[in-house]
């Protein structure tokens, strides 16, 4: 038996010249996962800060969406697998250096957490809801008593989940565009921006909408800074990374990236949010929809452009 020693992702089959492996499933999942992380982060944090009464949409309503986001996200992730029936093998090992391992375990923890949090607030959606069995009532009581730990785990795990959606790309050194540590924070912040947008969409109070629009504005500003730094990093790096950046600076992805992600997904909602804060009458649904649209486009474009970026000079 010959043994292969893998020293680089490039040794994988199908890496050079361009990768054509990931289709819509992975970017869709990354979007849903990031969004779920953003919503859970704000839900946990807002509850811990004791602001449940002020921001009910963040703590109570938005998290009700998360189980569905995660169910579809995980379904997409599953659809992407080549050997679908072996997915459980991810749970026979924990590799600290492998982002996929981190992701698999974090999802295993955060998915039930999101179900529990949603279950605690299910009466907001269905007022006459009744847990049929006594042990479920006891469980509800138990979790209500230990909500502090629940909220803390949600905040911490959602940060891991949000960063992991970006690290999944950046740890893959087979593609120069993905091989930047900025992707972790960028996807985390983008997911948080999406989470704040969902809160704005679901909120019924003017004050809460304004507060989360401001939060979103901050996230957008951080995202812009990260994007600028990502390109600065690429352009001062090796020729392959300069070539990767050129996909967005004159190459095939220039128009979609700068128009859909930066223009429509970041600048436009920022302008609308600023205008709204200055009391212009604006349909408040417009900015969050654009933010979510930008979030989807960012993941699709990074996924597709990344597969096209290569090491061959």
């Amino acid at each position: 038996m010959t043994e292969d020693l893998i020293v680089s992702g490039r040794m994988n089959h199908l890496i050079d010249p361009v990768l054509e492996v990931w289709e819509w499933q992975i970017p869709s999942y990354l979007f849903l996962g990031g969004l779920a992380a953003g919503i859970l982060f704000f839900a946990g944090l807002t509850w811990l800060r004791g602001k449940e009464a002020e921001h009910p949409a963040a703590v109570r309503r938005a998290p009700l969406v998360v189980p569905f986001l995660l169910i579809f996200g995980l379904l997409f992730l599953f659809l992407d697998l080549k050997h679908k029936l072996y997915f459980w093998r991810l749970y026979l090992t924990l590799k600290m250096a492998a982002p996929m391992s981190w992701g698999a375990w974090v999802l295993l923890l955060i998915t039930p957490l999101s179900f529990i949090w949603a279950a605690l607030y299910i009466r907001d959606m269905i007022p006459q809801w009744d847990w049929r069995f006594d042990f479920l009532k006891r469980l509800e009581h138990f979790f209500n008593q230990n909500k502090k730990y629940l909220a803390w785990s949600m905040v911490l795990l959602s940060l891991v989940l949000g960063i992991y959606t970006g690290i999944l790309f950046s740890a893959f050194n087979g593609r120069p565009l993905w091989n930047t540590s900025i992707l972790g924070p960028l996807f985390l912040v983008s997911g948080m921006s999406g989470g704040a947008a969902v809160v704005v969409m679901l909120s019924r109070s003017h004050a809460e909408r304004h507060y989360f629009a401001r939060v979103d504005l901050l996230m957008i500003a951080i995202e812009l800074v990260l994007i600028i730094h990502m390109f600065m990093g690429f352009l001062s790096s090796t020729q392959t990374q300069i070539d990767a950046a050129r996909l967005f600076l004159g190459g095939d992805y220039t128009a979609p990236f700068w128009i859909f992600v930066v223009g429509l997904g970041l600048l436009m909602p920022a302008i609308l949010e600023i205008m709204e804060m200055r009391n212009r009458k604006i349909p408040w649904i417009a900015a969050p929809i654009l933010v979510l649209f930008g979030g989807i486009m960012l993941r699709f474009i990074i996924a597709f452009a990344g597969q096209e970026s290569h090491w061959i000079l």
Binding site: I259, L264, R280, I282, A286
Partner: protein, 174 residues
Amino acid sequence: MEKDRSRKYWNPYFGGVMLGLVLLAANFVAGRGLGSSGAVKSAVVAAVESIAPAHADASPVYKEFSESHQGHPMKSWLVFEMVGVLVGAFLSGAWAGRLKFRVEHSPKITSRRRLIFAGLGGIFFGLGSQLGRGCTSGAALSGMAVLSLGGFITMIFIFGTAFALAYFFRKLWI
């Protein structure tokens, strides 16, 4: 204060000069004039090419389009210009406090009637833009700006026909 702003419009002559400057800027920046029906055509061609590629290959209309346009049909200046038009119009409406869902029509007709006739008019205009190789923006405005004879003829006939037929359709408006 807000209400005043939403009812305050630019002087139409000033608006016309500004539109001319936009056209000048487009020619300077993109090397192309303005247009709008072309973007719709790109969308139609892209849709047909992806849903019924066999039909697109057989039809001379789509064939001619793909021969004269390189790359994906949606990757054209007019498509992006239209995205910009939507964004700009939305921002301008937001700025003036005019963003509301409503159908603007004469008080003497219903919204439904207005929408049906708007649809009919749109169909005729789309048809006409294909016959005239462009609409008011692409053929008339941008064409006249570069002294194209076709542009002048298109402009004369668009407005001439409207003037001639206005009497018959006046009840839709007044």
